[in-house]
């Protein structure tokens, strides 16, 4: 009888033989390429904003032709590199927004690829919390165009999560910086604006998420400081379909303004519509997460005529950028040339700014070395002339830029009688 070997046994033997025969091979990377990755929610509802960010990043690299020559500060040796930019997605279509799992996968991918020298991201502060420690251990520079949660860089003295922000920096060094101002500034300026609008009683809602909750808690505490009353504060379920009963309750309290700490993705539009639907005419205010065209598109123009929607934004909108000096005007011209239209979302300037920061850090470091680049970004970017003005990174990686704008959704009628809603710059917010 012939011996019949079992297939599994053959498979096992094959795997082992191939494995041992081939021996060990480590991937070392490509010495002529510097890779830059970004990790942003590319599928799901934040897509329009991240498109703008990615366009901004690409524009920054495009301007230098995706090539850079680095001069080693010690040896003065010049090495040309090609810049490869990878646009990673930290969201899944199924979830509709970033998932922690996906963000971790992206961070690990960047960490393990020896050619990756900078990581642009994240969009959501919640995502940054998981990728920061991973990239920190890898000594990889991380530049965020959109994270505003303060705890990523600033300790909270009266919170049980006392390990923040240390837990995001397990190796002890700072590798994370961001080009947007943090929520504490934004919420204080929001509170000031609310006071200036003459509102005595406000109602606060939040979307039950890291960013929204943080900022609305801050607004609540600043409310006391600036002497107006908070009638109530509750969280919503951002997957909910309608809020008319909740708005009926709030209507009964007769607030002068409703503050919503959240984003367009966490139902700012629906809340505003339901507010008007139950017959309220008081204004609503939201943070920069609501400052996007999608918000103005989320309701019919009539709704914005019945009540006002305000949004604060860390930095100036596109049309005000030109007035700031810096490279704002240059950026707008370049963007229009490249993409054939004006940058719609203000985030595009932050994307561009991140690209500039990475380029500057590479130049300052002068070599393809993660640690040198990280150090360069955090110590050499001072009085930097960028698209959003002239600013510096402090030692925690926060921008010193403190310009913020107050905006409202305004309805305009064109000559055909069609009405459109869009954000309009109202005033500059300052402490």
């Amino acid at each position: 009888m012939p011996i019949r070997l079992s297939i599994p046994l053959v498979a096992l033997a094959l795997v082992l033989i191939v494995g041992f025969a081939a021996g060990r091979r480590e991937s070392t990377g490509d010495p002529t390429v510097i890779k830059v990755v970004s990790s942003l929610p590319r599928s799901g509802s934040a897509r329009p904003q991240t498109d703008q960010i990615v366009n901004g990043i690409k524009l920054a690299f495009k301007e230098i032709g995706y090539r850079i020559e680095l001069t080693d500060p010690v040896t003065q040796q010049k090495t040309p590199y090609r810049i490869d930019y990878f646009d990673l997605d930290d969201a899944t279509a199924a979830a509709g927004q970033f998932t922690i799992e996906q963000e971790i996968a992206n961070a690990n991918q960047a960490r393990m690829d020896p050619d990756v020298m900078a990581y642009i991201g994240t969009y959501n502060s919640g995502a940054a919390k998981v990728s920061m420690p991973i990239l920190n251990r890898a000594n990889l520079l991380m530049v965020s165009p959109a994270n505003t949660a303060e705890r990523l860089t600033k300790p909270d003295t009266n919170n049980r999560e006392r390990h923040e922000p240390g837990c995001y920096r397990p190796s002890g060094v700072v590798n994370y910086c961001r080009v947007v101002p943090t929520d504490d500034l934004q919420s204080e300026l929001s509170a000031l604006w609310i006071r200036d609008l003459g509102c005595k009683k406000i109602y606060i809602l939040d979307d039950n998420q890291t960013y929204g909750q943080g900022i609305s808690n801050n607004v609540e505490s600043f409310a006391k400081k600036y002497g107006f009353e908070v009638l109530g504060h509750q969280s919503i379920d951002s997957k909910s379909l309608e809020f008319s009963s909740m708005m009926t309750t709030i209507k009964g309290l007769k607030p002068d303004l409703i503050y919503f700490g959240g984003t367009t993705q966490s139902k700012a539009g629906q809340l505003f519509k339901d507010m008007v639907k139950v017959g309220m005419t008081c204004p609503m205010m939201g943070p920069d997460g609501c400052f996007e065209q999608v918000m103005a598109d989320s309701a019919s123009p009539d709704v914005f005529e019945k009540a006002k929607f305000y949004a604060t934004f860390g930095g100036l909108p596109i049309d005000a950028l030109k007035t700031l000096g810096g490279r704002g005007g240059e950026f707008i011209r370049g963007y229009k040339e490249e993409y054939g239209k004006d940058p719609l979302e203000a985030y595009s300037s932050y994307g561009y700014e991140c690209g500039l920061v990475v380029i500057e850090a590479l130049r300052q470091a002068g070599k393809k070395d993660r640690d040198a680049i990280r150090v360069a970004a955090l110590t050499k970017i001072k009085n930097f002339v960028g698209a959003t003005g002239t600013w510096s990174f402090d030692e925690q990686g926060d921008t010193t830029n403190q310009t913020m704008s107050g905006n409202e959704v305004a309805v305009t009628t064109n000559d055909k009688g069609e009405r459109t809603a869009a954000y309009k710059f109202v005033k500059l917010l300052k402490k």
């Binding site: 096992l12 590319r42 897509r47 279509a93 799992e101 890291t210």
Partner: protein
């Protein structure tokens, strides 16, 4: 089968697969080949596969062994993850080692399974499916809203890596410690299930699956049997949860434990082969691979080939994910409902044309 006597040189697929998996980290050629072609680390993905395999095996105990359609397995997965979060993170004063969570997590999840199962397992199939679905939603809601306990959508973190006395392993950047930890636990789970399957309890489950009434008449306590399966499945899901949170170094957010996760796991079972351990592993490998490896690779390729394609969701491969999943499910059900690697039993059940049916088709008296 006829040749019941085992020939000494024969090796089953299951041990062969696990031997290959054990050998994998010692043969870096595969890892580096994979990395150079895909920019993704296979070894880094494997612990995820192992963890989901444990979860899928837990779900398989309920769906595959007893025939209850369980649509809320993610809730028990979450219980495990959050138990790990509460017991080990610095946010609480416990700060216990990983191994305590590894024991407490499954026990808590199993208890919760009992708590949910005891009053509801007498419900008819579809109603029971909805109860499990509802429980999943309630759990997710509770995790989101009980912020003082779960930190809401931020999730609890960072979960410290498992510490082994006397061994200083690099859990963060080397995939191998986690690889062996999760693979070891997976093998233990597979051995446990293997033993249970051939035990009295396992045979009773089969009887229950095939015909509840008959099982009842044979003197089997069907309520207790179902409850046991429910508890075991929930416990395994809890075990997977503990590992998941430890692997991610965070409990992740409550949305990671939503209905989609439960359905994803069901898809793994269906694709691989319901009731078959090897099939379940294959199903998990294919779907996790699709999501975590294939989608990003193809997207990167598309992006490089067509830089102008940004903005159009249908030009992204990830945009088609649901479509691919959906089509795969439909085609599987139509042409191979027993899965890629079917268990003999399911094959018989799902191909009624090849076997004598119990009743006339369509009869529902």
């Amino acid at each position: 089968m006829a040749d019941a006597v085992k020939k000494p040189f024969r090796l089953g697929w299951e041990p062969a697969l696990f031997l290959m998996l054990i050998a994998f980290p010692f043969l870096p050629i595969f890892e580096s080949l994979f990395f150079t072609t895909t920019q993704r680390s296979l070894g880094d993905q494997m612990p995820t596969v192992f963890i989901f395999a444990i979860l899928a095996l837990g779900l398989n105990v309920v769906v595959g062994y007893t025939g209850i359609l369980h649509l809320g397995i993610a809730a028990f997965f979450a219980i495990g993850a959050y138990t790990a979060g509460i017991l080990t993170t610095a946010a609480y004063s416990f700060e216990l080692p990983f191994y305590v969570a590894l024991i407490v997590g499954p026990i808590l999840a199993a208890l919760l399974g009992l708590l949910l199962g005891a009053p509801t397992l007498r419900l008819r199939g579809d109603y029971l499916a909805l109860v499990t679905l509802g429980f999943g939603e309630v759990t997710k809601s509770a995790l989101t809203n009980l912020q003082s306990i779960t930190a809401g959508t931020q999730g609890l973190g960072p979960v410290p890596p498992p510490a082994l006395p006397g061994l200083d392993l690099d859990w963060a950047s080397d995939y191998r410690p986690f690889y062996f930890l999760t693979l070891g636990i997976l093998i233990a789970v597979v051995l446990l299930l293997r033993n249970i399957e051939s035990s009295r309890l396992g045979r009773a489950w089969v009887a229950l699956r095939e015909d509840e009434l008959a099982a009842n008449c044979m003197g089997l306590n069907t309520a207790k049997l179902k409850l046991a399966a429910f508890a075991l499945g929930s416990g395994l899901a809890g075990l997977a949860g503990v590992l998941y949170a430890t692997r991610l170094t965070s409990t992740s957010e409550p949305n990671a434990y939503d209905f989609n996760r439960s359905i994803f796991m069901i898809c793994c079972l269906i694709l691989g082969g319901l009731g078959n351990r090897l099939g379940v592993l294959l199903g998990v490998f294919i779907l996790v691979g699709f999501d975590n490896i294939l989608c990003p690779i193809i997207d990167a390729q598309i992006q490089q080939a067509f830089p102008a394609s940004g903005g159009k969701i249908y030009l992204q491969f990830t945009g088609w994910r649901l479509f691919v999943f959906g089509l795969a499910l439909i085609l599987m059900m139509r042409f191979r409902p027993e899965g890629i690697i079917p268990s003999c039993r399911m094959k018989h059940e799902l191909h009624p044309n090849e076997l004598v049916p119990v009743t006339v088709p369509g009869d529902r008296a």
